[in-house]
């Protein structure tokens, strides 16, 4: 059933990464991305893989869950690797067959690319999306971007919109399911016919869905107003975020890892590109 879907990838838990300040986690994942691009030697990559493995271990997210989430992206990863294997003609010739030639450079680039994409997904995943609830994420974004208020950018309003969107996605998905079933009960057919016919068959679903979404928006606006909502003006928050020692430790850890990668690249530059 549609209502079973979990939003994003959030995996509830109590690990160090779960408990860290979401604002710091956003900064950490940006730094982590930089880290991934710093690595450009076998030893650098090895260091990166070990460091990411350490992060996964800390997060306590089951490896099977992570592997499952990588599956849908496998095709893209393989596709880019294959392209690299055949098109990159640097380094020594390894195999040559008809018009196809594979060079060492190609193989290394392909492997590096694959590792890089995987590490990007896994690393930012365990630092941010798996260990931070969508609401905490939105909240952190609002707070990180709050200096932009000076420039009259409505940061609070955007964050509120995000929150409401997150709140209503499951509700509207459930509703879509319900309306589709109701129209199916009147003989609507969504699964056969040409593409045009199928698109047309969706009209009886989309119109009620839009009407319902507008009705909900209307009622929600009234309910918010009756609960004294008047935009970001004079608003306080229940949870005020404070940085703890843990957050600084994590930042420091990431900085160390960055240094490690740079050192590996510099002093053990095996197959550096």
């Amino acid at each position: 059933m549609i209502r079973d879907i979990t939003l994003g990838q959030f995996f509830p838990g109590h690990s160090l990464l779960h408990r860290a300040d979401p604002r710091i986690k956003i900064i950490l994942s940006i730094l982590y991305i930089v880290l991934v691009f710093l690595a450009d030697s076998v030893s650098g990559y090895l260091f990166l893989v070990l460091f990411t493995a350490l992060l996964i271990a800390i997060s306590g997210i089951p490896v099977s869950t992570l592997v499952k989430s990588l599956k849908p992206l496998l095709f893209i990863v393989l596709f880019t690797s294959v392209i690299n294997v055949f098109w990159n003609r640097e380094g020594e010739l390894l195999v040559s067959f008809w018009k196809i030639a594979i060079y060492t450079g190609g193989v290394f680039t392909a492997v590096f690319m694959t590792v890089r994409i995987m590490m990007l997904l896994l690393g930012t995943g365990v630092i941010l999306t798996y260990t931070t609830s969508p609401i905490a994420l939105t909240d952190a974004m609002e707070r990180l971007l709050s200096p932009l208020k000076v420039l009259h950018i409505p940061v609070h309003d955007f964050a509120m919109m995000m929150t409401i969107a997150l709140r209503f996605i499951p509700t509207l998905l459930e509703e879509t399911d319900k309306i589709m079933n109701a129209q199916k009960a009147r003989g609507a057919d969504f699964s056969t016919g040409s593409l045009g016919q199928r698109a047309k068959a969706l009209i009886p679903v989309l119109i009620p869905l839009f009407i319902s979404a507008f009705r909900r928006a209307d009622e929600l606006a009234v309910a918010m107003e009756s609960r004294c909502y008047r935009g970001g003006k004079g608003r306080t928050r229940m949870t005020s975020l404070h940085l703890h020692a843990l957050d600084f430790v994590l930042l420091f850890g990431l900085a160390l890892a960055g240094a490690g990668i740079v050192l590996c690249n510099r002093f053990v530059p095996i197959y550096a590109i």
Binding site: D4, R186, G187, A188, P204, P208
Partner: protein
């Protein structure tokens, strides 16, 4: 049985099978719907009653077991499942939220048009369905979105009636309506049943509505049938009903109280009329 409109044989339904969210909604159910009867389906949220309703018209395919509608195993030829939806029409909860056409008449015509009927047949069915639910013909060119809540619901009900199903299944047709709206909807259902001889299945939370409109009552609990029979039979089981958190109509409770105090009244009374008759017997027959 010869007078069977639909039958569930050993039917189970499991939501999200083989995932952590797995949930058995219906568990090995055998149910027979008697032809031409109004069967009330009652039970708590999660008792499996809505799942049963959706299996009866082929919207859900049972995880195991067979569903027979008008004597045919409906999943014998899955490609033909749309036909079952026209034979066993299902009206969902809050059906007014599925309206989408520009006019009332066109919305009601959606089902018949999907059946591939000729235009003349469609318009005569639309007119007929509007009469069933008591909608004035002058409303047919209005936008359904300009109507009142109760009227919208009657348009949605007419949309299913226009397919002229032999079995009409309704999931809480009166939910959220005021007494007037409820009476209008339910008398529309009665009118349809009387004119076409259809079998009706009605999910409801209101014991009073069940008492008033149903010939048979099926109580579901925990994915299984719990009690089945005429209202007299079901309501005489007040204790068993209360055990699963359901109540009997207020008037049945009153009669039970009188019996407890030693008065020879029937325990299976569930309408005000019948109660009046019983009490007049005690007071000597004349008008009290």
């Amino acid at each position: 049985m010869e007078n069977t409109a639909a039958k569930l044989c050993g039917v189970s339904y499991i939501y999200s099978e083989k995932t952590p969210f797995e949930k058995v909604a219906v568990d090995g159910v055998d149910v027979t719907l008697e032809e031409g009867m109004v069967t009330g389906l009652i039970g708590h949220t999660g008792s499996g009653k809505s799942t049963v309703a959706q299996m009866l018209n082929g919207l859900l395919r049972p995880t195991s077991g067979e569903v027979y509608v008008l004597g045919r195993n409906i999943w014998e030829n899955p490609k033909d499942i749309r036909r079952v939806r026209f034979e066993a029409g299902l009206v969902f909860q809050y059906p007014e939220y599925q309206l989408f056409e520009e006019t009332v008449a066109r919305d009601i015509a959606f089902g018949p048009r999907n059946m591939g009927l000729p235009e003349e047949e469609i318009s005569s069915r639309v007119a007929e369905a509007m009469a069933f639910v008591g909608l004035d013909a002058s409303l047919s060119e209005k936008s359904p979105f300009d109507l009142s809540g109760g009227q919208k619901r009657r348009v949605a009900l007419a949309g299913v009636m226009a397919m002229q199903p032999k079995i009409l299944i309704l999931d809480e047709p009166a939910a959220g309506l005021d007494p007037r709206g409820r009476d209008e909807i339910l008398s529309g259902v009665v009118r349809y049943k009387e004119r076409t001889g259809a079998t009706v299945v009605m999910i409801s939370h209101s014991m009073e509505d069940m008492a008033r409109y149903c010939d048979r009552i099926l109580v579901m609990n925990d994915g299984k049938p719990y009690l089945y029979g005429t209202p007299e039979v079901v309501f005489s089981e007040a204790e068993r009903l209360e055990k699963v958190g359901l109540s009997v109509p207020q008037i049945t409770r009153l009669m039970a109280e009188l019996r407890r105090r030693g008065y020879p009244v029937s325990a299976s009374v569930y309408t005000v009329e019948a109660a009046l008759a019983e009490i007049r017997k005690l007071t000597g027959g004349d008008r009290a």
